[in-house]
């Protein structure tokens, strides 16, 4: 078998790469969207797609790291919901409350990440199960802090961050994402943590034997993921403008799908944030098409599940036993 790196240099390897497949998928989505609705690619609609994709990409940034480390984080959705509801409650539409809100979100993210990592490392609970269980707790905490009905509103600065558009197709959120992508690209290239992250994802035992503190890497990864998700909740609040219960619920599935479409492997050790951004674009254009043909939530759920299932069958097959 040829190795992956030599594959990439050949033409066939290019066609097989996830980036290429993702770009083809985006083009296909845009064409289908255009066929259904003629204003699908108007600057306004395009800006809408880009902004939503950027929000999803922000939410999936932590997921990318977690999947590279060989796990998966299902508490992201509840972190986003909590982040939105809690920050609205604390900010009360006043700029001076922003630092306090950010502090609370970071502390919550820290706690969630630590609890996730504790369960995964020390109790040997599969990451998917542990993070789902933690997300259930966080969802109830979200209900408790606002007593069932969210109040408050984003501070003007956060609203500006979520709403401002440079031109109709380019919002501030998209710009922020581009900046974040560049930072992550540079960070993942020249950083001790990133090298350790990929090593842990590839083979925990080998990483441990090479002198890497595997548990520390896993802790840091889950903490980054949870903190980023909580802050994404704040950004989402700025974009939507008012809080509601389970605001981030739909992001749980989508972050996983975006990361996998982006070429990360559930076995760990493989993946990149640029791929995740492409995956986010694919998923957001798909969901915009579903909105354009006016499907109800139940059908959307079914289609989301089917899409994820097909992606999994294509991307995550294991070796046959006889090999």
């Amino acid at each position: 078998m040829k190795s992956k790196t030599s594959d990439k240099k050949t033409m066939a390897g290019l066609f097989r790469s996830n980036t290429f497949i993702g770009l083809v998928l985006i083009a296909a989505m845009f064409l289908i969207g255009l066929a259904i609705n003629h204003s699908f690619l108007s600057p306004k609609s395009l800006g809408n797609i880009f902004t939503n994709a950027s929000l999803l990409a922000f939410a999936s940034l932590g997921q990318t790291l977690v999947v590279i480390s060989g796990g998966v984080d299902m508490s992201i959705a509840s972190c986003i919901s909590f982040g939105a509801v809690a920050s609205a409650l604390i900010m009360k539409g006043d700029n001076s409350n922003i630092p306090r809100a950010v502090l609370v979100l970071i502390i919550t993210g820290l706690l969630v990440g630590i609890i996730n990592a504790l369960g995964i490392i020390y109790a040997n609970i599969p990451p998917l199960v542990m993070t789902l269980a933690v997300s259930n707790v966080l969802n109830v905490v979200q209900l408790i802090i606002c007593n069932g009905s969210p109040t408050g509103s984003p501070a003007p600065a956060i609203k500006f961050l979520g709403k401002y558009k440079l031109v109709s197709a380019l919002s501030l959120i998209t710009l922020l994402l581009i900046a974040a992508a560049v930072l992550v690209y540079l960070g993942l290239k020249h950083n001790n943590y990133s090298k350790q992250l990929y090593a842990v994802g590839n083979n925990k035992n080998a990483a441990a034997l090479a002198g890497i503190n595997v548990n520390k890497v896993i802790f840091i990864t889950y903490i980054i993921s949870a903190v980023l998700a909580c802050l994404t909740g704040m950004l989402l609040l700025g974009y939507v403008n008012f809080p509601y219960i389970n605001m981030g619920a739909s992001y749980g599935m989508l972050t996983v799908a975006a990361v996998v479409i982006g070429g990360a492997s559930f076995a760990g050790g493989k993946g990149h944030f640029s791929g995740t951004i492409i995956g986010s674009l694919v998923l957001v254009s798909l969901s915009n098409i579903l909105v354009a043909i006016q499907l109800n939530d139940a059908v959307k759920n079914v289609i989301n599940g089917l899409v994820l299932l097909v992606i999994l069958i294509f991307y995550t097959r294991e070796k046959a036993i006889r090999q």
Binding site: V137, I144, I313
Partner: protein, 343 residues
């Protein structure tokens, strides 16, 4: 007396010994808190009545875990069974509707097994995707809660056999006996071998894929029964009725001594783990309703607090395998020390 000691010895060796002990302890604590009110037939009956769906779902989950899988879609499958049984019951005779709902669960089990065994996709991911799909499907079948079942079904399900045995407990016993028969046949060993070391099973000349598929179908059968029991209990339809059971059943199975890495555990232990969770919830419910006499505590709605506590208990349940690992760690440290001393 001899039989008792023999039984006690057998229990001690059982993989689910811890679960049985915990269950007994909890029942004693419960008796102390609730007094005689807990020990009568109707109270025991209602305990089984309410918890049979969870117990059966846990047994189904345990079978999946034995063969190296895990099922995050058990809850959604049960929701689909419930929604289908209610909606179909409005158009065709109820027995046919229920049979159809049961068959759907079996088919879903076969579909999951097929994807996991033959397409070789990690079960945790497959069943996660399928759970989203099925949650949507349940909502499509039954958009909002409602519907009813003939009252005769509820009265049979909620009834008592021979004066003191709850019918719901009888269902559990029948399922356990059914799986016990499978377990004594080669298939039982093969299912666990598929979870412990599928390569060895393959080399031993057994068709691993088919073994896994069979395990998933068995699990589907039990899930179907759990769904019908839940329908009988609720007497109505709710498209989200079972969704919480996926995580609960995993937590219960771990509590019951089932090893998540596959190949190790007993269905009896799994059932005991589920009953343990059920009794814990029973205690929480009792305390919240009879000890605290207001609807809020420190300004927080009691229903939220109850949810919070239940969810935290599930995390604790999931972490209970920690105890077993600690024990193993102690043993290992002891061995290491001995080696050091000899050296």
């Amino acid at each position: 007396m001899q039989i008792l000691t023999h039984l006690a010895n057998k229990m001690k060796k059982s993989q689910a010994f811890g679960a049985y002990i915990m269950l007994v302890l909890l029942v004693i604590i419960n008796l102390l808190i609730q007094g005689k009110g807990f020990a009568n037939v109707s109270s025991i009956n209602s305990l089984f009545l309410v918890n049979t769906p969870l117990i059966l779902a846990t047994v189904a989950q345990a079978v999946m875990i034995f063969c190296g899988g895990i099922d995050l879609s058990i809850g959604a499958t049960i929701s689909v069974v419930n929604a289908f049984a209610i909606v179909a019951g409005q158009h065709v005779p109820v027995p046919i509707a229920w049979l159809g709902a049961f068959l759907i669960a079996v088919l879903l089990g076969a579909a999951k097994g097929g994807i996991v065994a033959y397409l070789r996709v990690p079960p945790i991911l497959v069943t996660f995707a399928i759970s989203t799909l099925l949650e949507g499907l349940a909502l499509l079948i039954l958009p909002k809660p409602g519907g009813s079942i003939p009252s005769s079904i509820y009265s049979v399900y909620g009834g008592v056999f021979a004066g003191f045995i709850p019918i719901s407990a009888l269902v559990i016993v029948l399922v356990l006996i059914g799986f016990g028969i499978v377990n004594r046949r080669p298939l039982g060993a093969q299912i666990k071998a598929a979870g412990a070391n599928q390569r060895s099973l393959f080399i031993a000349g057994v068709n691993v894929e088919r073994t896994k598929l069979k395990a998933y179908i068995i699990s589907g059968v039990i899930t179907g029964i759990a769904g019908l029991c839940l329908t009988a209990l609720a007497s109505s339809g709710d498209p989200k009725i079972g969704n919480a059971l996926s995580l609960n059943s995993i937590a219960a199975a771990i509590l019951g001594g089932v090893d998540l890495s596959g190949g190790w555990g007993t269905v009896g232990g799994a059932a005991a783990g589920a009953l343990f969770l059920g009794v814990v919830n029973n205690v929480i419910f009792y305390v919240f309703n009879n000890v605290i006499h207001s609807s809020t505590l420190m300004g927080i709605k009691l229903s939220y607090l109850q949810q919070l506590l239940t969810n935290i208990i599930i995390i604790l349940g999931l972490s209970s395998s920690l105890l077993a690992h600690l024990k193993k760690g102690q043993k290992r440290r002891k061995q290491a020390n001995e080696i050091k001393n000899v050296g």
